[in-house]
């Protein structure tokens, strides 16, 4: 088949793969025909860094990553041009293609992606995964799950509300049936809310808007995964070349989205920068381009990584690790560092690839991206924020979907035993303690079979001077698993009067 014919399939392949990405994302943990974490398995950067940092071999990630590496060795950066969901979205937004006389951006910008790649891999070698947030798959996944999808839920729910208000017979039933279908398949019952959703979108929008500077700006200059696959493509088998039919019309150079077709070098391209999109194939009407197999490595370009640049990455990596040691979190545990069941710092920080799958499957949206709890080095790692959502006693989904095993796969019975944190009653605000009003919500909610929250009965003088009995909640620490359903349901507005704190090993704390 001719290259220009194959090219016609590209938008369709991209769209189908993107749909698959969204389906796997939305149905994470609930489908069997493919692993929910397929795209993270296929991402060799996440696999490499994740395994290096955790000092642990993960077979599923190894196999998935290997598939893409082998694919790259044969066909070059087809991942970037055909499969990557972020690349697909970047292709969907309008982009700037330079005019013939317009000066090309300094090609040394292309070094940035190798610098980031070196930095991420070296950091992983030192046990630090904080910059894996720049991996394209984690970047788009996190943006969709914490911002775009929840916004869609809000907009659809709002439209349903509006429809239900219209005075049309049978409309309520139809809308409710539709809504029930959504809620029992893809939508959560309640509107999910997420911290850092704005920041995630900001990063995402910046990546897209950079297209206005140059098409595929992210993929050419910044993407660390693109860097990894680019390096490998130096020795990839299938490559583009030009022959002596070329009349230097520059049509191919004009359509090339990564700008790697260089007029100064007889319109040759660098396989490290070529994403195999084949856009150039129909542009050439002289049959001057060929796609052939080669075995010798491609030419080393001035912007390709050098030993000095490697040293720069190493220096930066050491600096980042050094800075991460200066975090207050290393000296004192932060009070609300509540990790998903079975996960614990500091190991968790070296195992979590910040993909956000646990956050996506958490049915109460209690798992949230962290901002301050683990310091900047732990940004976007999951923490339980009980005020926003509790850890459901009948759920163990986070551990089941975690691609790296940073959250262990626990049976429901095991998960129920794992201590996430310990609840403490704030007696200065708790209704019975502080205001003499009866309230037992936290005790009622406590799911532990021997309730960790107990009520002590006391006689108190009510505001009108009468003796009344009052039940006051207190926590038996060694029964509490820190699920946070108490904090979630505390009827006080704002901060709850019972809060879950990072667990300590003090043992039993007395009710007085």
């Amino acid at each position: 088949m001719k290259a220009s014919t194959i090219r016609k399939f590209r938008p369709w392949v991209q769209a189908l793969v993107f749909i698959l990405f969204v389906v796997l994302l939305v149905a994470a943990g609930r489908i069997n025909f493919l692993p929910s974490d397929l795209f993270f398995r296929l991402d060799p950067l996440v696999g490499l860094a994740g395994m290096l940092a955790a000092r642990r071999f993960v077979l599923s990630m190894f196999i998935g990553g290997l598939i893409v590496l082998v694919l790259t060795l044969i066909l070059g950066r087809v991942w970037c041009g055909w499969l990557c969901p972020l690349g697909t979205v970047i292709d969907w937004v309008p982009s700037h293609k330079p005019k013939p006389k317009e000066a090309e951006l300094d090609s040394r910008w292309r070094k940035v992606k190798y610098f980031l790649l070196g930095l991420i891999v070296l950091l992983a070698l030192l046990g630090n995964l904080s910059l894996i947030i720049l991996d394209p798959i984690t970047l788009i996944y996190r943006t969709v799950i914490t911002a775009i999808w929840p916004s869609l839920v809000a907009i659809v729910s709002g439209a349903e509300q509006a429809l239900v208000g219209l005075p049309l017979p049978g409309l309520l039933d139809a809308v409710v049936r539709f809504d029930n279908f959504l809620r029992s398949t893809v939508f959560p019952i309640y509107q999910p809310v997420f911290r850092l959703s704005g920041l995630a979108v900001l990063l995402f929008v910046v990546v897209l808007v950079l297209n206005a500077v140059r098409s595929r700006f992210w993929c050419r200059y910044l993407c660390p995964l693109g860097g990894l696959l680019g390096l490998l493509s130096k020795v990839s088998w299938l490559r583009r070349s030009t022959n002596n039919h070329c009349i230097a019309c520059a049509k191919c150079a004009r359509v090339c989205p990564t700008g790697t077709i260089d007029p100064k070098k007889d319109y040759a391209s660098d396989p490290s920068e070529c994403i195999m999109c084949l856009e150039c194939a129909p542009a050439c009407d002289k049959n001057a381009q060929e796609f052939h197999g080669y075995l010798a490595p491609a030419l080393w370009q001035p912007y390709d990584p050098s030993f000095r640049q490697f040293l720069l990455s190493a220096g930066a990596a050491v600096t980042v690790v050094g800075l991460s040691k200066v975090l207050p979190q290393n000296k004192r545990t932060q009070p609300f560092l509540l990790r998903p069941p079975g996960a614990a710092d500091p190991e968790f920080l070296s195992q979590c690839i910040r993909c956000g799958m646990c956050i996506q499957v958490c049915p109460t949206s209690g798992l949230q991206p962290s901002l301050t709890e683990a310091g900047w080095a732990g940004i976007w790692t999951p923490v339980l924020v009980p005020r926003l959502g509790y850890c459901d006693y009948s759920c163990n989904a986070c551990g089941q979907v975690c691609p790296t095993g940073a959250i262990p796969k626990l049976t429901l019975e095991e998960k129920r035993q794992r201590v996430i944190g310990h609840a403490y009653v704030d007696r200065n605000r708790c209704l019975p303690w502080a205001s003499g009003r009866s309230c037992i919500t936290c005790e009622e909610m406590c799911p532990v079979s021997d309730k960790a929250i107990q009520l002590e009965e006391v006689e108190v003088l009510s505001s009108d001077g009468q003796l009344t009995t009052l039940q006051r909640p207190y926590v038996i620490q060694d029964r509490c698993i820190g699920c946070g359903i108490c904090e979630n349901n505390c009827p006080l507005s704002g901060q709850a009067a019972i809060q879950v704190y990072t667990p300590t090993d003090l043992g039993i704390s007395l009710p007085w």
Binding site: G158, G165, L172, S394, C395, C439, E443, E444, L455, I485
Partner: protein, 340 residues
């Protein structure tokens, strides 16, 4: 951006306007259910319970209902008969299901499915066989539609329906499990409340021809016991504030508006401690008892005796009795006990 083609421009414009229109739609109506008026005393409420026989209250002058057969309250108990048989016997003794369910009626059965944590033997959710027996009776009596629903406070409703065994049991006899959809709640102003002035109630509960309340009798540290009256809390949306604003008064306020035609209390197994969530078989006692009455207050008062308490010990039962919503004076009631 200068080379944006007309086709692309139109494509982006369409995407944007679709998003814009739905966003506008979603913001043009406040996300709040509409307020509906509940007629005050004297009016015939859609969910007014038919009395099986006269309770000893002022309004007991309906001679027509006295003449119809059936006990005021029935208790079926015994190890030999299973939960299904006990349920059928108890309902038969209060006049039979036909008394409460007319042909073609829209029936809602409200069991207690408070969370998705435990299987039925832990007695934190209503026994599935009891629920299924009621659904089957209703369908046999010619009900048009029988729906079973609850809104759990812990875990997802779908999971809770399955874990409790109720979904399988109900569907096997031809009933329908309904997920209580947030769109269907109606804001209701409660007439002459003690504590609960306004609340959002599931609209279908207010509109159904027959509501059958099927709680499980179990321990609850705040209310002492959770029985029929407290089970009705499952039909409202915001329960958190109820606890802080006088739980007992709020339960009674709610029961002036939500009036099940029949209450069937599942006491086949009861939870005597660590309720309402449970989770330990040590806290479960097998009682092999099912209680049925059109009077939820009487049914609750009887169920309290299984825990060695009386209706007067439970504040919400006492308040409901004082308000004339039913009777907790078991001695004055026509009670039929069936030993099966």
């Amino acid at each position: 951006m200068s080379n944006l083609s007309r086709r692309d421009f139109l494509r982006y414009l369409m995407t944007l306007s679709a998003a814009g229109i739905s966003t506008y739609l979603s913001s043009c109506r406040r996300l709040e259910p509409t307020l509906i008026e509940i007629p005050t005393e004297g009016a015939n409420l859609p969910t007014e319970a038919p009395r099986a026989s006269t309770p000893p209250t002022a309004e007991s002058t309906d001679s027509e209902l006295i003449s119809t057969e059936g006990a005021y309250l029935a208790v079926a108990r015994g190890k030999a008969a299973g939960p299904d048989e006990l349920t059928r016997r108890a309902i038969a003794a209060v006049g039979g299901i036909e008394r409460y369910v007319k042909k073609g009626a829209d029936v809602i059965v409200k069991p207690n499915i408070c969370n998705a944590y435990h299987s039925p033997e832990y007695a934190s959710t209503t026994n599935p066989a009891v629920v299924a027996a009621i659904v089957a009776l209703c369908l046999d009596a010619g009900a048009g539609r029988v729906r079973v629903m609850d809104f759990p406070f812990g875990g997802k409703a779908q999971n809770a329906y399955e874990t409790s065994g109720i979904a399988q049991a109900v569907e096997s006899v031809g009933g329908e499990m309904e997920l209580m959809n947030l769109l269907k709640y109606k804001k209701v102003e409660i007439p002459n409340p003690m504590a609960l002035k306004k609340t959002e109630i599931y609209g279908d509960i207010l509109n159904a021809d027959t509501v059958i309340n099927v709680p499980i009798a179990k321990h609850h540290s705040g209310a002492k016991l959770t029985l029929g009256l407290k089970n009705l809390m499952g039909v409202i949306l915001n329960r958190g504030t109820l606890h802080a604003n006088g739980l007992h008064q709020s339960i009674v306020d709610l029961s002036t508006v939500v009036k099940p035609q029949l209450t069937v209390i599942d006491a086949t197994s009861i939870l005597v401690a660590n309720g309402p969530t449970g989770g330990s078989l040590n806290d479960v006692r097998q009682m092999d008892t099912v209680i049925a009455s059109a009077d939820v207050v009487a049914a609750d008062a009887y169920a309290a005796t299984l825990f060695n308490m009386t209706g007067a010990d439970i504040e919400y039962i006492r308040l409901a009795d004082e308000l004339g919503l039913g009777s907790m004076d078991l001695k004055s009631l026509n009670i039929e006990t069936i030993d099966a």
